[in-house]
Subunit: 266 residues, 2 copies
């Protein structure tokens, strides 16, 4: 493996790198994903621009196969069970609109330019190296530290998928001929309440989780992938049971917190 | 009126111009419209990128009201009577996909950034200064020159609108608060056959028009605007009857051809 670094917002440098490497395969995962701002940031629009330029470079350099990261957010807050074929796309924020618009241009561009593009709608990934201010890491860290953790009532259900399975799914899609949108999820809906209980079972401190201490606001009640297509057309299914994925995440954060404490003690 | 020229593909220069002018209103009509290539050109993707950057500049400079040119091509070849509210968007080529994707991002960006954006789906404009290789100018020029004109059977029906009416509609939309997609058309479907007959009635040479001499290929049979929204919500309707618009176009091309002939004679 050889690594090359490039700022995708620096279009000319990116064009030159892609032209020099002439990659056959492309997995494009970059985007603004900063919690609290990615939904509405102006940078979503810049990511559409930068991604389109990347795809033009890729096609111009003879690229054959691209996998781009979409999101369950394209379906929008009212979608419930999300099917690639039948669920209308009604994104509720700039983020989902930009992802969906990019998908549409890339699909048409791929047909015209002669490469094959798959668009993976990733549901709710979690695991090692996740941003510490996201839901699961903040519950894990709070409970490991013995701090109270304020949550909503936690009845909203999500499709959580261990990051190892997300990566495996991407590899599987890349190696396939699949074109168009494809849900990457577990197909199972788990409530935030049950997720927190699973974490507490591993960390202790169940009584520290305060359900209802935060307002749920306008959070969707149910977001879960219909995984019929990835299961049947790609023969792919998750390999990591949710409990195991959570246990791995807890282990990773425990090690991380120990290391941080050792750093402080030095 | 003061004119400023700027290459929208030169994003930095464009950013600087927009920042310096801080325009309140924007009418964005630029795109690749070269007959025979605009449907599939890679440049459609570049126009999405350049247009998004322009909209970010505009919003950043405090812009309040934008009108952007979309196209009936967003509805796709099978649409028939095209309604903003009920006709599914199934563009058949890269051009229509890029226009529709731009519309989606701009609508979400406008909501987020706080400007009002209208998206005018222009149907089939014609008139003075049209590209000479498009349908109506080529029929007019052929018949004025006494040359045979090869057409398809000409049963396909289109929604032709005089360029003066297109301009008037844009002004009307700009002055309104209308947001989202809006058809700009006459609401009348006229066959290419009838259009050619109208031209021949003004130029003579009806016998020079050879219907069926060219293959219609996969041309859509009917593309016409449902103009309910622009008629009722904006109180706008075309002012130029089709025959008058055609007569103006014939006059313009006659004068143009005389001038060209004088140039040659000098």
């Amino acid at each position: 493996v050889r690594w090359h670094r490039c700022d995708l917002f620096d279009g000319r440098t990116c064009d030159e790198l892609v032209a020099a490497l002439a990659p056959e395969l492309l997995v494009h995962l970059a985007w603004n994903a900063v919690p609290g701002q990615f939904w509405i940031s102006d940078e979503n629009v810049r990511w559409v621009e930068a991604s389109l330029r990347l795809m033009r470079s890729f096609a111009g350099a003879g690229g054959r196969r691209a996998v781009l990261a979409g999101s369950c957010a394209e379906y929008g807050p009212a979608a419930g069970i999300c099917s690639e074929d039948s669920t209308p796309l009604r994104p509720g924020a700039l983020y989902g609109s930009c992802k969906d618009a990019l998908r549409q241009v890339v699909a048409a561009h791929a047909r015209q330019a002669g490469y094959r593009a798959a668009w993976v709608r990733i549901f709710h990934p979690f695991g090692a190296r996740e941003r510490p201010d996201r839901l699961i890491p903040s519950v894990i860290q709070g409970l490991l530290a013995g701090r109270p953790v304020d949550l909503t009532e936690g009845h909203q259900r999500r499709d959580f998928l261990a990051v190892e399975d997300v990566a495996a799914a991407l590899v599987s899609v890349l190696a396939s001929d699949f074109e168009g949108p494809l849900n990457v999820g577990s197909g199972d809906a788990t409530s935030v309440r049950d997720m927190a209980a699973m974490i507490a079972a591993l960390t202790g401190g169940h009584e520290l989780v305060r359900f209802g201490a935060r307002s749920g606001g306008k959070e969707p009640q149910l977001v879960v992938a219909d995984t019929t297509r990835i299961n049947h057309e790609l023969g792919w299914a998750p390999a990591v049971p949710l409990e195991d994925g959570i246990a791995r995440a807890v282990d990773w954060w425990r090690a991380q917190m120990r290391e941080d404490a050792l750093q402080l003690a030095r």
